[in-house]
Amino acid sequence: MAHDTGEYVAFRNVQKSYDGETLVVKDLNLSISQGEFLTMLGPSGSGKTTSLMMLAGFETATNGQILLDGRPINQVPPHKRGIGMVFQNYALFPHMTVGENLAFPLEVRGMGKDERETRIKRALDMVQMGSFAARRPAQLSGGQQQRIALARALVFDPKLVLMDEPLGALDKQLREHMQFEIKHLHDSLGITVVYVTHDQGEALTMSDRVAVFNDGRIQQLAPPADLYERPGNSFVAQFIGENNKLPGIVEELRDDRALIRLATGELIDATAVNIHKKGEKTMVSIRPERVEINTEMMPENAHLLDAEVREIIYMGDILRARMRVAGSEDFVVKLRNSIGQRRLNPGEKIRIGWHPQDARALDAV
């Protein structure tokens, strides 16, 4: 979790425009504490990479201020920022061996040969690549190159490391393994990591906090569990994980409890998140694994809905049931594949419901 030692990196009212007409980053405010693992997550074009590049110094902010350890760095050139960076395609220098690649940041800092070698060895051992110093990057597999890129970004002991979709080019299994290793390195070195990805799974498993970007703004900044279980708006609900959405109108609103009337006339319970008054349009979001099909498990006097099973997809650990609910053809329910689980068949008509806190009434899109 975030070691709360104050503000280490800060974006203050940062804006970025490439063409002078549209803003790619609109009023970014974000503070990152020392030792935190923060992920910028978002679809392509959402401004996350641009924000990272502004922090690295490869793009200049059109407006606003970026602070590193309390010091404004807008005017500091990238080589003086002392920030380690891992690039999407590793960017290992092809004309140098692995050892020379790692020596490079130390040489440009004028470090002596003995200390260089000690540090290179330590960094290579850290990523379990100790015996590869004499190889060329082209002789390494993707995963090995990734480790070297990581070692190179860490060899000069930066306090802050930026990673721009570093695992994008790896296959699924290797990616999951590297996620674990990066997280482990982060924990053991105590460095601050700003990580950019469009893979929500990666963001959820690795981060202390995730900033979900869309349309040049942070839509929600929260720890992974909050993000998944308590999305703050319909974009986040839609972007993170699978989501069932039911459009409706607010019928009743008392504190954070709301009663929503769906377009087809049914009433459902929901938790009010960003709805403000009766009669407002809303989008109710329910995670597929939180939908209940056993009536006895639902809270008393919960509103139930009619559903007709259209299709059952067997996925091993779970069963995915696609249903027709309140006029929508693709309402998805996930059922654990366990003994005693009620089996459904296509065409079957059932009643479904949920705990009110699992249905979130969000802004209508």
Binding site: G82, G84, A91
Partner: protein, 420 residues
């Protein structure tokens, strides 16, 4: 384990009919190889006929000239019977007289004289006039021949004839190296004022080097600009780079004359701008400067293209990575960017240098007296029908280029060459 594998034949190496897999594979591949060979056969024939054979012929000509040996069989015999460094005796003059008669019969005096003339200038007429009177010669031949012309007593003539009595000779290479045979047959350097070739050879390589360096200095930023500009602008710039290719070499060269000559556009502009005085007009053409300027212009695309093709595929992430690791922009350029452009630089330098070393039209047109290159000498000998001398000079040029090529391979590695 070992005892089992020794006796067992690996199942995979035997085909179903019992034919070993290796043989079947070889047969299957032989068919493809034959087909591939037939496809390249026309090109192979073309290259052999138009490149390998002419070069072989050229090398042979540089060492072979039978103008004298075919015309003087008796002297050939006399020379082989008598060792080196002997003054011609009566028998020698008798052989000469016999050969002069033979030359007259066969009408070969001109050819023989021309061959000796290469070594001893001014001796062609000696042969033609002596052959004309060959039938009147009577013993004692020494007095009779010396009676025709005292020059026949010149030992240099006899040294030259001895050398030329064999069709295989190193004379043309000696000439190309500014070396001649002295009166006693030993090798010596020619007089200082008539040494031509070695100095010109050196100058040709030096000028080509200068031209190559200027091309590199000019081409590198252009190629970088081309590689980093957005596509549309890069294409426009590329057209400008390639424009010289679309006009004839002759037109380009003459337009440079118009531009650079004493009363030309550039000088007039400088004068009217008051930068230079009317009598201080710069000599930019018909000298070495002209050769350099025009050849740089003509050869520049050959430098730009290979460098550009290499730069285009260097991802910008490398420079960013270097910067993020703490390198200044200069260090990034020197340690990261420039080394990666090396294959393109190597290709461009080699290409431009080799083209420059053999360039002929441009120096001939704009080089004046001191802007001439080695190939102009080759051309000079070709117009004089001294094919052997032209061939020897060309072979020297070829040797120089091959040495450079070898050096390049040793220093950079020819496998790193990238032409596009």
């Amino acid at each position: 384990m070992a005892s089992i594998t020794q006796t067992a034949v690996p199942a995979s190496s035997l085909a179903s009919e019992g034919m070993p897999l290796k043989i079947r594979l070889a047969r299957a591949q032989a068919r493809n190889r034959r087909r591939a060979f037939l496809l390249v056969l026309p090109l192979l024939l073309f290259v052999t006929l138009t490149f390998v054979l002419p070069i072989g012929q050229m090398l042979q000509r540089s060492l072979y000239h039978d103008g004298f040996s075919a015309a003087a069989p008796s002297l050939g015999q006399w020379f082989s019977e008598n060792p080196e460094d002997i003054r011609p005796d009566e028998a020698g003059f008798a052989a000469l007289a016999a050969d002069l008669r033979y030359m007259k019969e066969q009408n070969l005096a001109g050819a023989a004289g021309t061959r000796i003339n290469y070594n001893v200038p001014g001796s062609r007429s000696l042969f033609t006039s002596a052959a004309r009177k060959a039938d009147d010669l009577e013993a004692p031949y020494r007095d009779a021949i010396l009676g025709l012309d005292q020059k026949w007593d010149d030992p240099r003539i006899w040294v030259a004839m001895r050398e030329a009595s064999s069709p295989w000779t190193s004379d043309f290479y000696l000439t190309a190296l500014d070396i001649q045979r002295g009166a006693d047959g030993t090798l010596e350097r020619v007089d200082e004022h008539s040494r031509v070739y070695l100095a010109l050879y050196g100058k040709t390589f030096l000028l080509s080097g200068v031209i190559t360096v200027i091309c590199l200095v000019l081409a590198f930023p252009i190629a970088h600009l081309l590689a980093t500009l957005p596509m549309g602008k890069a294409n426009l710039l590329m057209i400008l780079v390639l424009l010289p290719f679309w006009t004839s070499l002759l037109v380009r060269t003459t337009s440079w004359i118009v531009l650079l000559q004493g009363q030309g556009v550039l000088n007039s502009l400088l004068v009217s701008a008051g930068i230079i005085g009317e009598d201080g007009r710069l000599a930019l053409i018909n000298n070495q400067t002209g050769t350099i300027i025009v050849m740089v212009h003509i050869l520049l695309p050959f430098m730009v293209l290979p460098i550009y093709s290499v730069m285009r595929v260097i991802p910008p992430a490398y420079a960013r990575a270097a910067r993020s690791l703490g390198a200044t922009s200069w260090t990034t350029f020197r340690r990261i960017y420039a080394p990666q452009t090396l294959p393109g630089i190597g290709a461009g330098v080699l290409l431009v240098f080799i083209l420059a070393v053999g360039y002929y039209i441009t120096p001939a047109l704009v080089g004046g007296a001191d802007g001439q290159l080695f190939s102009n000498q080759i051309q000079f000998h070709m117009t004089r029908s001294n094919w052997s001398q032209a061939a020897a000079l060309a072979a020297m040029l070829l040797a120089g280029v091959l040495v450079l090529y070898w050096l390049y391979d040793r220093l950079i590695g020819i496998d790193k060459l990238k032409l596009g």
